[in-house]
Amino acid sequence: MVQILQALASLKLTLLGMVLLGIGAALSYGNPEHVSVWVLVAPLALLAINLAAAIITNPRINRQPGLLVFHVGLLGMVLLAGIGRLTHLDAHLEIAQGQAFSPELLMDVREGPWHAGALDKVAFTQGRFTVDYAPELRRGLTHSQVFMPQPDGSVLEVDVGDDRPLVLERYRFYTTHNKGFAPVLTWIPADGEAVSGRVHMPSYPLFEYKQDNHWTPPGTEEDIKFWLQLDTGMTLEDSWVLDGRNSRGVLVVTSGDQRVELKPGEETRLPHGRLRFDYLTTWMGYRVFYDPTIQWLFFVSVAGVFGLGQFFWKKLSLTAWTDDDSETANKRGSV
């Protein structure tokens, strides 16, 4: 058993594991979908076994507290990163001003098989937002207003944006460059109940030149095309603030041969009913991130590096830095 452990603890195996990890990292560049996660998991598993064996059998590691902390920290990081992948959730969210968050709004959801976060307990309502732009449309600070219900019945207003995510139930909501306008429409069918909703136009100002979308009323095959003509005050030459309150829009509605321009509050009659453009609002795109291990990863990695630092400090302070001890200096393993 000891011989097997010593063989598994070999430094040459460590080097092999590192080379394989390097290959895995090269293959993982850019997170290509066709590359299996095993290109990283396999060398990490090999290194973890090698490291665990070394911690048990190698007195150079297990009798030096700093080095031991570093190597245990490395093992802990591999373990935590693995747990993180199994329990994570990554998603995107588009939410309009005045809209309450609901898990059904999440898009492009990627989650680990053990993900069990309390997403249904996340509650907030999106407010308005502003984005500062420097000349030449260079994006500055984002301020997104979010309202969170409190246990005492009050509502807490929070300003989030950029590197200040909204953190609820360990889910982290980050504002993104993806945000834009949404005409709020009411569809009054020829027979039936009126329904209201929003049509999210493409991200603004990234797709300033193509603010269009389309919608098919329920129970019909009518394809209604929308084109939003915006006046936001956008300028390339000067600084500018994207703010829904300072923006106006005219909605061009096209259905078949019929084309009509609507201002907020106006409506038009279409083959299967009437369409009213109630008002113009905005939507904000968030990146949603959940990984319960990130704080632990931070503490374990920092503890590991401080262990390494302590080991080196002790080692380096024992001898003069530029001693000329030729007998020992170039021996294997001497530093």
Binding site: L11, K12, T14, L15, M18, V19, L21, G22, A25, A26, S28, Y29, G30, N31, D90, D132, A134, E136, R138, R139, G140, L141, T142, G161, D162, D163, R164, P165, R172, Y174, T176, H177, R287, F289, I294, L297, F298, S301, V302, G304, V305, L308, G309, F312, K315, L316, W321, T322, D323, D324, D325, S326, A329, N330, K331, R332, G333, S334, V335
Partner: protein
């Protein structure tokens, strides 16, 4: 060509580095081995003084630019090179002062610094836009730790270069005043150990910044992949040294290879890929 306010200070700083480079090289000359100046190591004080003066002048250059454009040297290549010339000079000056054994290798180190020095002279000092994600305070730790890492690597490159050049008769003449190859090798790897600590801390703080700024701590983008390779190669280098008897010249090759990868990570990768550090989307 428009000359902006920080450029004269930058040029003056580079001139001071040039003096340090020339004096360091002059001190290696076998013909001057018997001269009183070299024997008493007075020229080393001139080298140290010139580097310190260069750092001071570059500090002024950075401060002038900071005031002019409203933010620090974080973004474009001109700013990164200027900032690295400053931090590499500062940290190397401290090492040069505290570790007399590595002083003759300054001739190599300063020549490497001139890759940055001549590069920055070719660039337009264009103003940069400060992205929202750069307000995060973890950036300070990430950048600061990265600067210490690169400076330790640079000092290691000087020693690695000495071990390689000493394979020739001329190299042995030039670096006659340095300790044995074995002692240099030991010192070089001690610097590499410290570099590993600071590289690790740089990656950790960078991951925290990335989590805050871009909503993920690691995504295998070009910069992260390249930085990981650098860390891994450094770890491989240390383990190779633990596993095999590595001759000094090969130690030098390994150290210079790690530095080359770090150099590409710092000055190449962020500008050939739209990775997170650009942060301007």
């Amino acid at each position: 060509m428009n000359i902006v306010a920080e450029q004269p200070w930058l040029w003056a700083g580079l001139l001071a580095y040039l003096v340090a480079t020339l004096v360091a090289m002059w001190g290696l000359s076998p013909r001057l081995a018997g001269s009183e100046s070299v024997q008493s190591r007075r020229h080393e004080r001139v080298v140290l003084g010139a580097i310190a003066l260069g750092v001071l002048l570059l500090t002024i250059a950075i401060a002038v630019r900071w005031v002019r454009i409203g933010h620090g040297p974080w973004l474009n290549l001109f700013e990164l090179l200027m900032s690295q010339l400053w931090s590499l000079g500062l940290i190397y000056a401290l090492l040069y002062w505290r570790l007399p054994g590595l002083r003759p290798s300054a001739a190599i180190v300063m020549l490497v610094m001139w890759i940055l020095g001549s590069w920055v002279l070719l660039l337009e000092p264009a103003d940069s836009h400060f992205p929202a994600t750069y307000y995060n305070f973890w950036k300070w730790f990430h950048v600061g730790l990265g600067k210490i890492f690169l400076a330790l690597m640079l000092a290691g490159v000087g020693l690695g270069g000495v071990m390689i050049l000493r394979r020739t008769e001329r190299g042995r003449q030039w670096f006659r005043a340095m300790p044995t190859d074995a002692a240099i090798d030991k010192l070089a790897w001690r610097l590499m150990m410290l570099a590993l600590v600071f590289d690790s801390l740089m990656l950790i703080t960078g991951a925290v910044w990335a989590q805050d700024a871009w909503g993920r701590y690691w995504a295998w983008d070009a910069l992260e992949t390249s930085a990981f390779f650098t860390w891994l190669l450094l770890a491989v280098g240390l383990h190779v040294r633990l596993s095999f008897k590595v001759p000094p010249w090969l130690s030098g090759v390994i150290i210079i290879s790690i530095f080359a990868l770090a150099f590409v990570t710092y000055f190449g990768t962020p500008y050939i890929s739209p990775s997170a550090h650009k942060g301007m989307v």
